[in-house]
């Protein structure tokens, strides 16, 4: 499994433009908000947690249709299924690779972007603490969606329609954690709920994605 993960990460590094495109999309999309709602610091600061969460969610969706799509088109998916690795672990490796190449870089730039949006510094910690399990869960959910649309002709359009509804709980609790810190409430309950969502997704999503990948090969 580590070899599949290493292969995925190496492939993304070789095609580094994908990760850079995700980060640029995130920064540009977040940069549109001050232009649209006006530059007042108080207003921006209040909107910042939600803005960052929505932009991170949309940016994480960008590379998903290539997650299995490229392997399906060039025949590598068959080889992965025959590699002796159970499909669920193969899917887990895919999700981990997606997080390393998308979730982790987003987490790193989320801080500077939050400051750009005038978010009060004491809400920064809860925002990033929430993004950690949040992006992990998004990678797992996204892997399920990506596996389900393998071989579908309009997969790129179908994928967000499948994943975004599933991602709403993550968005709600993630943005609520940071907003709670803005109003000087404890973000602990929301963060614990985010962790719970991650713990729930960790065993279930690879199983579903693995089954979908095997069905797609048939």
């Amino acid at each position: 499994m580590m070899r599949v993960l290493a292969r995925e990460v190496r492939l993304s590094l070789r095609h580094g433009a994908d990760t850079v495109a995700v980060l640029l999309f995130f920064i540009v999309a977040a940069g549109l908000f001050p232009l649209a709602v006006g530059p007042e610091p108080v207003m921006l600061g209040r909107l910042a947690p939600g803005t960052i969460w929505v932009c991170a969610l949309l940016a994480a969706l960008l590379p998903l249709d290539r997650l299995f799509g490229a392997d399906f088109e060039d025949g590598s998916l068959d080889q992965l299924l025959l590699s002796g690795l159970p499909p669920s672990l193969m899917a887990l490796a895919k999700a981990a690779a997606h997080w390393v190449t998308t979730g982790l870089p987003l987490l790193i730039v989320a801080g500077p972007v939050a400051i750009m949006l005038r978010m009060p510094p004491d809400a920064l910690g809860p925002l990033l603490l929430g993004l950690l399990p949040g992006t992990l869960t998004l990678s797992l959910l996204g892997t399920v969606g990506a596996a389900l649309v393998i071989g579908a002709r309009r997969g790129g359009v179908l994928l967000p329609l499948l994943v975004l509804p599933l991602a709403t709980p993550v968005l709600i609790f993630g943005a609520a954690a940071a907003s709670a810190a803005l109003t000087h409430l404890s973000p602990r309950p929301e963060l614990l709920l985010l962790m719970a969502l991650f713990v729930l997704a960790l065993p279930l999503c690879p199983l579903a994605a693995g089954a979908a990948a095997r069905a797609a090969a048939e």
């Binding site: 292969r7 190496r10 060039d74 025949g75 080889q79 002796g84």
Partner: protein, 195 residues
């Protein structure tokens, strides 16, 4: 065995067995189910009826370990164009598996690509990519080779080389099932007609 593709019954009432060192050549017109049969044996396709037995036991009961026994060369070469030939093979190499697997450099030398080992696959011609895919059979160390039109894009020298590799594989107790329209140099192979 029988298999459906959608609602269409591709074949039914098939049966054959293969001994260690044996080879089977599947022949039949386009659409007669050669690829379907190979994918069914690999466990990539569901079967409508019948069994795939390995030493008398149901081979498809444990798909991950069944996958380790076989190497599948499909229509597509399954190469990542951004990676070099060596990097492409590294994921599939199972060194030390039953002592059958060949080191990556030796496998590339066996298909005559040792000089191009560190070029990205993007720079290779179609025939050279096919030869990297053939080298994957060697590094996988699998007992059973499933070859789907293995000679696509190969020149005559490479076809002869593939014949030599298959002969060596069979001499070591390996098995080959190949689907092909062209003559493959597989001496003593049983022909199995799907029609």
């Amino acid at each position: 065995m029988a298999a459906f593709r959608g609602d269409h019954l591709v074949f039914a009432d098939l049966s054959f067995r293969l001994e260690p060192g044996g080879a089977l050549v599947l022949i039949g017109r386009n659409g007669s189910g050669k690829t379907t049969l190979l994918r069914l044996i690999a466990g990539l396709m569901p079967r409508a009826a019948g069994d795939v037995l390995w030493s008398g036991e149901d081979a498809l009961a444990d798909l991950p370990s069944h996958g380790l026994r076989l190497a599948y060369l499909g229509h597509q070469d399954a190469l990542k164009l951004g990676l070099t030939a060596v990097e492409n093979l590294a994921l599939w190499a199972r060194v030390g598996k039953e002592g059958r697997a060949v080191a990556i450099e030796d496998a590339l030398a066996a298909v005559g690509l040792e000089d191009l080992a560190h070029l990205p696959a993007r720079m290779l011609s179609a025939g050279q990519r096919r030869r990297v895919a053939i080298a994957r059979l060697l590094v996988s160390g699998a007992v059973l080779w499933l070859l789907d039109e293995p000679t696509t894009a190969l020149d005559t020298a490479s076809v002869a080389r593939l014949g030599g590799l298959a002969a060596a594989h069979r001499a070591a107790g390996g098995m080959v099932i190949a689907a092909t329209h062209l003559d493959l140099p597989l001496p003593g192979a049983t022909e199995f007609s799907l029609s």
